[in-house]
Amino acid sequence: MTAASFETLTQHVADLPAGDFVAHAAFLGKVPVLAMSDGRIRIGDASGAREVQAHDATILVAADDATRLVTGGDDGKVIAIDASGSLATLADEKGRWIDAVALGASGATAWSVGKRVNARDGKGRVKSLDLPSSSRGLCFAPKGYRLAATHANGTTLWFPAVSAEPERLEWKGSHLDVTWSPDGRFVVSSMQENQLHGWKLPEKTHMRMSGYPAKTRSLSWSGDGAWLATSGAEAAIIWPFSGTGPTGKAPRECGVRPKRTTQVAFHPKALVLAIGYEDGWVLLVRLTDAAELMVRRGTGGPVTALAWDGAGQRLLFGTEDGAAGLLTLPGG
């Protein structure tokens, strides 16, 4: 496919001056929010935005739940930001790097520092768990106060409010990011060894999803939970998770280009996937007919952040070299 054959939405994209490595993109309610690595949070669209300095340090990790954004920095702080720009310090680990953050229901927050993972419930009660090695990936279960945390040779499932032994999902190798399927039946981790590993719960049966030329660092479930989109290949690789899961089934490949995908984000309602590439391109792909729409013809750095608003009307993206944009779908 040549570039000329793309239908384009580029005229519906407003540039946003991010100015530094975009660590995270989110919509808090209807407000687009960008977190930059230099510690700034930019709140608002092109017509009017304000900035707050969340960290006097580098933002390493971030997560959001559409009402608040939580960032972890190399200053050891975990900061929550709301759409009004007010900041709350949830934790201060005294200069130790925050390696992962996750948000759960009812205001729950989790973060990891080295081997220790911490969970803070909506009332501010913090529980800690020591893992076999440091954790780069955290994810709360879709229901209940339960956390998945990756580490070397597996993933641990932990009920922070319960004193029971955490449950260990074992698989040799180094596990990075983790995601829990919206129906709660699957836990999937990405691995240092350029593959995904999944466990079907509660049986803990294994699923191996391999063939990637690079690490998968972005995972996104379709709104109906039937598909898991992943980055790390020269296409978005989309695994079927309806029924028994992906075992024995071939994944879909969408947005095939001679460049690696770095970010994927499913539209919240339709089977449309936003894909960011290592060269700064952003495409929308419709799964039903593989139709492709150009959002950004990139220059420079990889796409590092992608987020849809709750209605699926707007897409926010940012790149490693500090470019960002807001797509508003026409006729919405």
């Binding site: 490595f21 130790r96 790097w97 190798g173 180094s174 240092q192 060894e193 690490k215």
Partner: protein
């Protein structure tokens, strides 16, 4: 590749003077900004630098290669540091005194994201002139650190007699004759001999001759040991011939071309079988019908090689390989390599 961040690995047994060297690098007026990855905070008194605490988390890659261990914490830290791109010029990794340098080095070969952004510049080992000989006997870590080194600072030379200094140099050379050795007091080596060495750049591996000539000023000859054969090559600079029972280096040369269809399977098989014992390897080879030099290097089972510049018309086409390792079977290596001659 020019915009890749150079990474210097500082190793050395406990008390050898790593922190002294690190503080020197950081305090000297060179206009460079460093990100320093350390295991213990507190000993570095420099405010302007980025200092990151590491955990030395070594894990085995699940790729069927038993000695392929990497430093998981380094992968994470390098990724984090790249978010501060432009705010520092180079990275220095200080390992603990008991660390094996292999997982650090292998991290730079195995992880693509690290490899895309950073390049291993050199492994610099600080050794204590007074205590190294003893440590080589009782501490396998100390021996590993000498064997792995590209640059060795033989430090605290003011605490030993000239004869003791010659002895410890001889012991170092018995293990690793290829590293650049610099004798120092309080780690007072010129920093350009420690930093920016490009020791892992295939393009810079021009020669793999033993580095005895680097040893500097000591041109006196030592004739007092009973094993003196009276035919010292002048390159030896008068060093005693020590033999380390465990760790050795082996260099093998073929005066001519090598058949790549024989060599590649041989070397791959060799490192698969002997990788745990081969710490480092290098080679410059003349492949049959190939105008360019083939250069490779390896750390345990991991090999990295490529065709480099053309052989010059005035340059004899010879093929040389070297190994540093434990209990190397010189006969096996020699016969195996010789059978690869074109």
């Amino acid at each position: 590749m020019s915009d890749k961040i150079p990474v210097t690995v500082l190793t050395g047994y406990l008390g050898a003077g790593k922190t002294t060297l690190l503080n020197r690098i950081l305090s000297e007026n060179h206009g460079k900004r460093y990100a320093v990855i350390v295991n213990e905070f507190g000993e570095i008194g420099i405010d302007n630098e980025i200092v990151v605490g590491a955990d030395e988390e070594v894990f085995e890659m699940n790729n069927g290669c038993i000695c392929c261990t990497v430093r998981g914490d380094l992968i994470r830290i390098v990724e984090g540091l790249m978010r501060r791109k432009g705010r520092f010029d180079a990275i220095i990794i200080e390992t603990t005194g008991l660390a094996d340098p292999a997982p650090v080095a292998q991290t730079f070969f195995v992880d693509q994201d690290v490899q895309d952004r950073a390049r291993l510049d050199a492994i610099v080992t600080v050794a204590d002139a007074k205590w190294l000989s003893a440590r080589l006997k009782d501490a396998p870590e100390a021996k590993n650190q000498i064997a792995f080194a590209d640059v060795i600072l033989l430090n605290k030379t003011d605490l030993v007699t000239p004869a003791e200094l010659e002895a410890v140099k001889g012991r170092i050379r018995a293990i690793n004759p290829y590293a650049r050795m610099i004798t120092t007091q309080k780690c007072n080596a010129p920093l350009d001999e420690v930093l920016d060495r490009h020791a892992f750049d295939l393009e810079r591996i021009l020669e793999i001759e033993p580095a005895f000539l680097d040893d500097g000023h000591d041109h006196h000859h030592d004739h007092d040991h009973g094993d003196d054969h009276g035919h010292h090559h002048h390159h030896h600079g008068g060093l005693k011939h020590y033999h380390d029972e465990e760790m050795q280096s082996v260099a093998i040369r073929i005066d001519g071309d090598v058949d790549p269809d024989k060599f590649m399977p041989w070397i791959n098989d060799l490192v698969q079988r002997r990788g745990p014992d081969i710490l480092r390897s290098k080679g410059i080879l003349a492949f049959k019908n190939e105008p360019k030099r083939f250069v490779y290097q390896g750390v345990h089972m991991i090999l990295d090689g490529d065709l480099q510049r053309d052989w010059r018309p005035d340059e004899p086409r010879v093929s040389t390989i070297v190994f540093i390792g434990r209990h190397l079977d010189e006969k096996e290596l020699r016969e195996g390599f010789t059978a690869c001659a074109a």
